[in-house]
């Protein structure tokens, strides 16, 4: 496996395009319906305030999905998420913008695939919500004739 600093126009240190959503009940209710996650703290501002937050809060599982989305939007359909991990440090509150981001940390050629290691995270108002890491694979560039 060969380490590379630049492959397919990618460079270590590059940030991938962000994935941004303003989240609230419109997102959370839809996600609750598909993941059977009807929990009061995600559905009711009173429950959120009782837990110490100013409003209801979003699901960690939806932040997990946003981390997948930011990678998929960047890679396209031929990309593959090999590994991904995160910690849930803070929740997002209602009607705030959540942004999922990624930064390339390493690039490796592995046969007909390019492996890219990234730092990924979601943030709200400059605060990291779910920091993590990911490794994706992309088709290697065709050999130049």
């Amino acid at each position: 496996m060969m380490a590379e600093s630049r492959v397919r126009g990618l460079s270590v240190g590059d940030e991938i395009p962000p994935f941004e959503r303003v989240t609230g009940f419109a997102n959370w209710n839809r996600f609750a319906a598909v993941n059977d996650e009807f929990v009061p703290i995600h559905m009711d501002d009173g429950a959120g305030r009782k837990a110490g937050y100013p409003t209801a809060i979003g699901m960690g599982n939806l932040q997990w999905a946003f981390l997948h989305n930011v990678l998929r939007e960047w890679m396209g359909d031929d990309g593959r998420i090999e590994e991904i991990a995160c910690q849930f440090r803070a929740p997002n509150t209602k009607d705030q913008t959540v942004t999922a981001r990624g930064r390339i940390e390493a690039i490796r050629l592995d046969g007909d695939r390019v492996l890219v290691d990234l730092t990924v995270w979601t943030e709200m108002d400059g605060t990291d919500l779910a920091p993590g890491t990911a490794t994706v694979s992309l088709p290697a560039p065709a050999a130049e004739s």
Partner: protein
């Protein structure tokens, strides 16, 4: 006189239980509509990628057909085995040891310590997924909340071809 702080949460019985199977589920066959709705929900308000809902388009891709988003959960609402609609998720911080049949540690709070996943085969319409969760291990650390117990749960999903779909390591922090 107040009880002395715990010096360890990990009993011999708990340590001996590492590796024990905690749960096993088998999904219903994944439906195209399950995939479509999941994708709509996680990409809302924008339409999701066509790979997740347009069969004709998906057939032209390297996947050869519709696939589910990697984060898709085929066990939401109900599993084929064990049967019945899922009840509320337990928030009992001692639930793991109760399932194992061992004396639980004297913990009162739990936090989600994070998740780590390795993906295998993509999930496709018609797939039946089996999930097996095991107790991965215990470790402890003293922090600002006092003695904290880190419990690792290891879950493996396989499809009807016995191919691995995903391996998950989840960490729960209890104190």
């Amino acid at each position: 006189m107040p009880d002395a702080p715990a010096t360890t949460y990990i009993s011999a019985a708990m340590a001996a239980a590492v590796g024990t199977e905690l749960s096993r589920q088998v999904s219903f066959p994944i439906a195209e509509s399950d995939i479509r709705k999941w994708a709509i929900a996680v990409y809302y308000p924008d339409p999701p990628p066509r790979l997740f809902w347009d069969s004709d388009f998906a057939a032209t891709t390297s996947h050869g057909g519709l696939v589910a988003p990697e984060d898709f959960n085929p066990f939401a609402w109900m599993a084929a085995s064990p049967g019945g609609v899922h009840g509320p998720t337990s928030n009992d911080p001692q639930n793991t040891e109760k399932i194992l049949g061992v004396e639980p540690p004297p913990v009162a709070f739990q936090l989600n310590g994070g998740i780590s996943v390795t993906y295998g085969d993509r999930m496709r319409p018609g797939d039946v997924v089996t999930s097996v969760s095991r107790l991965g291990g215990y470790r402890e650390r003293t922090g600002r909340l006092g003695l904290m117990l880190f419990t690792t749960l290891e879950t493996t999903w396989t499809n009807q071809h016995d191919a691995v779909v995903r391996r998950t390591e989840g960490t729960v922090i209890r104190y």
